[in-house]
């Protein structure tokens, strides 16, 4: 029984690996935030050879999506995870943009280990089917769900508008964030974050990269609460603005969020234009007009 099971297992795995390698090498499907993070990270590690400008951050900056930048902002994680990934590679960077909103969240060691484990790294590099974006059940789910949606829609082409945020729910979510942002972080937590960030920044500078800090806009009620203020103060103390480049947080009142901290798709584009205007002053790329036309 065991021999037959193992034989059949090898046949099935081989067939799947070959079919992915031949038919769908570029297929990438992610169905949850962990998978999305891994797919993004693996895509960067295995294919993004020409990336010279990288954004690292949390879900807040995950929507900063433009061709000139590689975005290593991960949902549920922080800038430290992106920096740790870059540290493990010998990437030549021109500029690294570090989001400073979520710096009190330390690096997720499980995430890093999954990407940097030497055995898994090599295996996933060469066998595409082992990568998270190519899981058979994820493909099955996505394909059947999209098939069902098509059947439901028939031939009609419909454009779905982004779902409106329920005001009562928004208020609750915002109230939660206000509560979180109102508890001042301890000096020890702030110091630890700064020490860790300083080590990363030093390393990237030694590698010849320009470091730019940026703070994403959040709901105006959160902009000046103790967490935001303490982080800003510590950042300026550790990385003085006269020595480091900052893209300062724009007027929070000009942006709408879905839950107090995350910008909607439309608002993310709005911020991107602001972000790019400042980037173009600091670095070589410039596609503000292109973006503003989107």
């Amino acid at each position: 029984m065991i021999a037959k099971a193992l034989f059949l297992f090898f046949v099935l795995v081989s067939l799947y690996c070959i079919s992915i390698q031949v038919v769908q090498p570029s297929l990438r499907i992610s169905l949850n935030q962990w998978q999305t993070n891994l797919v993004k990270a693996q895509n960067f590690l295995y294919t993004a050879d020409s990336c010279r400008n990288v954004v690292v951050g949390s879900s807040l900056s995950a929507r900063l999506d433009i061709p000139e930048l590689c975005n290593l902002s991960f949902v549920g994680l922080s800038a430290f995870d992106g920096m740790r990934m870059l540290q493990s590679t010998d990437y030549k960077l021109d500029t690294i943009y570090i989001e400073t909103n979520i710096l009190l969240r330390s690096e997720d060691e499980v995430f890093t280990a999954q990407l940097t484990n030497p055995f898994l790294f090599q295996a996933k590099k060469h066998i595409l089917a082992l990568r998270e974006g190519k899981q058979p059940l994820a493909i099955l789910i996505k394909e059947s769900y999209e098939g069902l949606q098509k059947l439901k829609r028939g031939n009609k082409k419909t454009v779905t508008a982004p779902a409106a945020v329920d005001p009562a729910l928004f208020d609750k979510l915002l109230a939660n964030q206000v509560l979180l942002y109102s508890t001042p972080p301890t000096n020890q937590a702030l110091n630890n974050s700064m020490v860790r960030l300083h080590a990363f920044v030093k390393e990237f500078e030694e590698r010849g990269a320009q470091v730019v800090f940026f703070e994403m806009p959040v709901h105006k009620k959160l902009c000046n609460l103790p967490v935001s203020i303490s982080l800003r103060e510590y950042m300026h103390k550790t990385f003085p603005p006269n020595r480091y480049n900052y893209i300062v947080q724009p007027d929070c009142g000009a942006y709408h969020t879905t839950d107090g901290v995350h910008l909607s798709e439309q608002e993310a584009l709005h911020y991107l234009a602001y972000f790019q205007r400042h980037c173009s002053r600091l670095t070589s790329f410039d596609s503000v007009n292109q973006l503003e036309n989107r």
Partner: protein
């Protein structure tokens, strides 16, 4: 160390190879002990001392119980049990006790800084089992539990407590089940096919079902659940029920399979719990090693059902309340235990008075009721803050008009389906209807291996590690 980690694979391969080497036959017990200590120390090396201390105390106390006169036996056994409970109270419940009874900030912060040693609930209960078994046993039974040589007894006790397959998340072993099994093992004694089935099923349940469901049921957490529709909230709860089963039953199957590879047999820890048609039945099928432990070492000593109806209900409540607290130092666990105790007591009160006809429809309805209650109660595991649990229920009631996220529902149902099929397979196997098996069994194992290799979720801690 996780059973699903690369480090564990290496440790296992080395241990297994050395264990069955003909020249190492006399060192099988030390090989397992060393390997188990490495397994335990991998993440928290500093807490190895605690494990060794616990094993030492239990070895000495159990040895002294056998080799002292009747007057001292009870005293020594009691002191041993109290030391075990004291360790558990200090390391596991220190924060909870501190937050209630001790006010000075320094004491509180000291208690908050005490680390929770992984597996302490399991090895402490095993220590108690040894002392109670030795104390209660007759001369013949004691011979199997305590060696004449103190050194040999310490070695056997250390293996009993630290044997890695059960060390950090059970099943909870009883001394009278494990200690008589310690003798020289040979490769020929292993039922390789059984081990293969256990390990493949266990790893499939853990890595494919539980680890994938985890990323979809994550949104049960506060405050995220507030933004989901009622249907999604109910489906997530169903998914969490399947996840917690797949996680713990998967772990138990791996533990049983691994132990079997070293020649040790553990009793089953799960027996298709979600087909239970009564709460009593559920507790005979879920985490069997804990429920039998609580039955043998708590419920029966409290008087069980021998002291009248009211006392029986009280004993059930006390047993389940403490069983709930065993899971963690938070009142939510105590409430969870109390809810189950109450359900058991009500069922015991009602069943002789309102006997339901033994028809499939009624059995199905009872099963659905038990599953529904059990699933709602799991929420206390996921949301330790009781107000968040109430918030979840209120969101189920309020978010009816929200559009359901069908993709999420589809995913949860798909990843939960192996748990449903697993139970259905068992039901049909023992029902009168004959079910035609479409494929030979090796096909199912090959498919499970395929998914383990290509569709495993993000490897996370086993849920029961925290207990």
């Amino acid at each position: 160390m996780l059973f699903t980690s690369f480090a564990f694979l290496v440790l296992f391969a080395i241990t297994f190879s050395l264990y069955y080497l003909p020249i190492a036959v006399n060192y099988q017990v030390p090989i397992l002990i060393i390997s188990s200590l490495i397994f335990y120390a991998y993440n928290q090396p500093e807490l190895l001392l605690l494990l060794l201390f616990s094993a030492f105390i239990n070895s000495i106390a159990s040895y002294l119980v056998v080799h002292s006169n009747l007057v001292h036996q009870k005293r020594i056994a009691t002191v041993g049990v109290v030391v075990n409970l004291g360790l558990l109270a200090f390391f596991k419940y220190g924060q909870l006790i501190g937050s209630f009874f001790i006010r000075p900030a320094t004491t509180e912060s000291f208690l908050l800084s005490v680390p929770l040693p992984i597996g302490i609930s399991f090895f402490t209960f095993e220590g108690i089992s040894l002392l109670v078994d030795v104390y209660r046993g007759n001369v013949d039974e004691r011979k199997h539990l305590v060696s004449p040589s103190v050194l040999d007894h310490c070695k056997r006790t250390l293996l009993f407590i630290s044997f890695f397959p059960h060390l950090i998340a059970g099943p909870i072993l009883k001394a009278h089940d494990f200690l008589p099994q310690i003798h020289v093992k040979t490769l020929g004694q292993i039922n390789v096919q059984r081990c293969f089935r256990l390990l493949v099923t266990g790893y499939f349940l853990k890595m494919v079902v539980a680890d994938n469901l985890k990323d979809f049921t994550f949104w049960i957490a506060y405050p995220y659940f507030q933004s989901y529709s009622s249907v999604n909230l109910l489906v997530m709860l169903f998914g969490y029920s399947c996840q917690i089963f797949a996680d713990f039953a998967g772990y138990s199957l791996i533990a049983i399979g691994l132990a079997s590879l070293f020649g040790y047999e553990f009793n089953p820890n799960f027996n298709f719990p979600y087909i239970a048609t009564s709460f009593k039945d559920f507790w005979k099928r879920w985490h069997i090693s804990l429920s039998t432990f609580l039955m043998e070492y708590l419920y029966i000593p409290l008087g069980g059902n021998r002291k009248g109806e009211l006392r029986t209900y009280l004993n059930l409540l006390i047993t389940m309340f403490l069983g709930g607290l065993w899971h963690g130092a938070a009142w939510s666990y105590a409430i969870w235990g109390l809810a189950h105790g109450l359900a058991l007591a009500v069922e015991r009160f009602l069943s002789p008075r309102f006997a339901l006809p033994n028809r499939a429809m009624f059995r199905f309805a009872s099963g659905a009721l038990v599953f529904g209650f059990v699933s709602l109660a799991w929420l206390l595991f996921k949301l330790p803050n009781f107000s968040h649990v109430m918030g979840y229920f209120s969101s189920i009631a309020k978010n009816k008009t929200m559009a359901p996220d069908f993709l999420q529902i589809f995913q949860i149902l798909l990843y939960s389906s192996p748990v449903v099929l697993y139970h259905a397979h068992y039901l049909f196997k023992y029902s009168q209807q004959r079910v035609q098996v479409v494929f030979p069994s090796y096909v199912y194992y090959a498919v499970m291996l395929f998914f383990i290799a290509l569709n495993s979720g993000n490897s996370g801690d086993f849920i029961y590690f925290q207990f």
